[in-house]
């Protein structure tokens, strides 16, 4: 598949470069560095390095400040360490504070993410497969509606969703967060394109001839072939659900169902609330660090998979 699309790109672009590109001109073969291994550029490295610095600085700040006690936090310079290395104390306190509700939020987040991402990826694969390989009436209408929904701002939807869910008595239950996360039009679109591209119809037909039902054909033949796409869709649903803020903000009011993002913001607000609100910025910062670590670990360790998923998509560019 890769080679096929490559040819397409090549035939599409080659004539754009120069008409004489096909003429191999040996006079130009005098460079020390090849096209694949050009001379490293210090200027370019520094400029890109500045962007990397911009991206890392807040994270460095977060790590440094997670090691400070509350007293050090309010009294020491942001990028300097505190008098006391309090990271461990902070972590212990994060898990203890308010009867250990942080653990509950963490588990809630895991529940929302695992169930939400798994179901949405599965439904997207199922639907994408149907769109790519099966016939049914109303397909065009369906496509058009789903296409339109990609452009509908999710947040504009959330308020009516809230009003509806409140009407159904689903607010303040995990369903209020889970059900909307099951639907991922982007994922469906991706899966559809991937299926069309990566699953040969002949193979499916062969399975049918052997007497496999539609569902078994899908599960046993198509699904394994969609693995890289599934990992990509899964991981990106994972992030969007893990980071979701608006939907749980309006749907959930019982702290026992909060995901980490909402809980974290509530803790942060404690300090800026007049009165007896507790000042726990050290816990907020440590909790923030703990919140992003699983995601960063997931991304770094699954790098190979989702990057190959991305490039799998990219070859179509």
């Amino acid at each position: 598949m890769r080679s096929r699309t490559s040819t397409r790109a090549a035939s599409g672009e080659a004539h754009v470069v120069t008409p004489g590109a096909s003429i191999r001109d040996s006079r130009n073969r005098r460079r020390l560095y090849s096209v694949d291994n050009p001379k490293k550029s210090v200027t370019l490295t520094v400029m890109t390095g500045l962007s990397a610095l911009y991206c890392l600085l807040p994270l460095v700040w977060l790590v440094i400040n997670a090691t400070k006690s509350q007293a050090d936090f309010v009294s020491s310079f942001g990028l300097a360490p505190g008098h006391k290395f309090a990271l461990w104390d902070n972590i212990v306190e994060v898990f203890r504070y308010q009867n250990g509700i942080f653990t509950r939020w963490l588990l809630n987040t895991v529940l929302y993410v695992v169930v939400g991402a798994a179901v949405s990826t599965f439904l997207a694969a199922l639907g994408g497969y149907a769109l790519a390989k099966l016939h049914f009436s109303g397909k065009r209408v369906l496509l058009f509606v789903i296409l339109g929904s990609i452009a509908v701002p999710g947040i504009a939807l959330a308020i009516p969703q809230f009003l509806l869910f409140a009407h159904l008595g689903l607010t303040n239950t995990p369903w209020a967060v889970l059900i909307p996360s099951f639907i991922n039009p982007f994922g469906l679109y991706l899966m559809w394109v991937f299926t069309a591209e990566a699953v040969p119809t002949d193979l499916l037909d062969a399975a049918k001839v052997d007497g496999a039902g539609e569902f078994r054909t899908f599960v046993q033949i198509a699904l394994p072939m969609l693995a890289p796409a599934s990992v990509t869709v899964l991981l990106f649903s994972f992030v969007s659900i893990w980071n979701n803020y608006f939907l749980p903000l309006i749907m959930l009011k019982d702290p026992n169902w909060y995901p980490l993002t909402i809980g974290l913001n509530q803790w942060n607000k404690l300090g800026s609330t007049a009165g007896n609100g507790a000042l726990i910025q050290n816990l907020v910062i440590t909790a923030a660090l703990l919140t992003i670590i699983p995601l960063i670990v997931a991304f770094l360790s699954l790098q190979r998979y989702w990057q190959s998923g991305l490039s799998l998509g990219a070859v179509k560019g």
Partner: protein, 314 residues
């Protein structure tokens, strides 16, 4: 959140892939319906019914004293005359006009730099620039809020050293700071998409160009940029949809910094949220949400949604 950029994995997808697809054979006429049904039913529950319900609600006005009354299109006429709403719309409009090009140009430049193979430590750079994507908006706002604080944040130190009086969260500059946060969060993601597209360009093209005496600048202009075109269009659309929805940052910031100029009607989404949940004006908020969705679709369409639609014509 508040930025659909997270989802624009599709940016890498070219619209015209399906034309190669072999026509599916007719086997079991409506079997596909059963496959699409779970998605379809939930889609109706999560998308269609709420929109219809919002349309219904928008015809009512709810009062603290006197309850719900049918009011026809009164909410819509009120909305079209509501200066607070239109200020918010024009704010996100200008924000989008500035932030999206900056972010995408930066992302492209970085992707080109990575693809040039001229960087020391390219892998480290790539991963570092992408990392912010994994940080929730809540955490990002928290960190930037602390860091940009004029008194004790890094800007405070900068002001002390230089004797300046820069304030990243003054009403005139807050939007720029928010732009910085959003750019911080999504540049890396877009960069990776562009980078993936560039990596798929066959190397022989570069060899050929080099043999032909083309310099690096020409290679970028003639080969790489055209290769990025289709993914760029889609990245633009999703970035626009994302910035039009901006919510988390302006919603969280006021608890960190005062007098940042962030009002309850700062962005249309924030305004809708405050109307629905603080002002007990849910009918009005529903009308606002619908109008805002229409505006977003119109803008996205105006930009290039046709490009996307072509994808579905088989």
């Amino acid at each position: 959140m508040g930025h659909a950029g997270r989802l624009d994995v599709t940016a890498v997808m070219s619209p015209d892939t399906t034309q190669h697809q072999a026509p599916a054979k007719r086997r079991g006429k409506q079997i596909g319906l059963a496959f699409i049904a779970p998605f379809g039913l939930l889609f109706i529950l999560v998308y269609i019914v709420p929109i219809v319900y919002a349309g219904y609600l928008s015809l009512f006005q709810e009062k603290l004293i006197g309850g719900n009354t049918f009011s026809g299109l009164a909410n819509y006429t009120k909305l079209f005359q509501d200066a607070q709403f239109w200020h918010g719309v024009s704010r996100v409009f200008w924000f989008t006009l500035v932030q999206v090009p900056i972010m995408l140009l930066l992302a492209m430049a970085l992707a080109l730099a990575l693809d040039s193979r001229r960087l020391h430590g390219a892998k480290f750079m790539r991963v570092s620039i992408f990392l912010p994507y994994a940080v929730p908006a809540v955490v990002s706002t928290l960190m930037w809020g602390f860091m940009l604080g004029v008194k004790y944040g890094l800007f405070g130190s900068l002001n002390n050293t230089l004797g300046t009086d820069l304030n990243p969260f003054a009403p005139g500059t807050t939007l720029i700071s928010i732009g910085m946060m959003v750019t911080w969060a999504f540049t890396g993601f877009n960069m990776l998409i562009f980078y993936a597209v560039l990596k798929a360009v066959p190397r022989e093209l570069y060899e050929a160009a080099a043999l032909d005496g083309a310099n690096e600048f020409q290679v970028v202009r003639r080969i790489k940029l055209p290769a990025l075109r289709s993914s760029l269009v889609i990245a633009i659309i999703f970035s626009i949809i994302g910035t039009f929805q901006i919510f988390s940052e302006p919603q969280i910031l006021p608890s960190m910094v005062a007098n940042s100029g962030i009002t309850t009607d700062y962005t249309p989404n924030l305004y809708a949220y405050n109307l629905a949940f603080a002002g007990s004006q849910q009918g009005y908020a529903a009308a606002l949400a619908l109008v805002m969705a229409a505006i977003t679709i119109a803008v996205a369409y105006a930009v290039q949604i046709r490009g996307l639609r072509n994808a579905f014509e088989d």
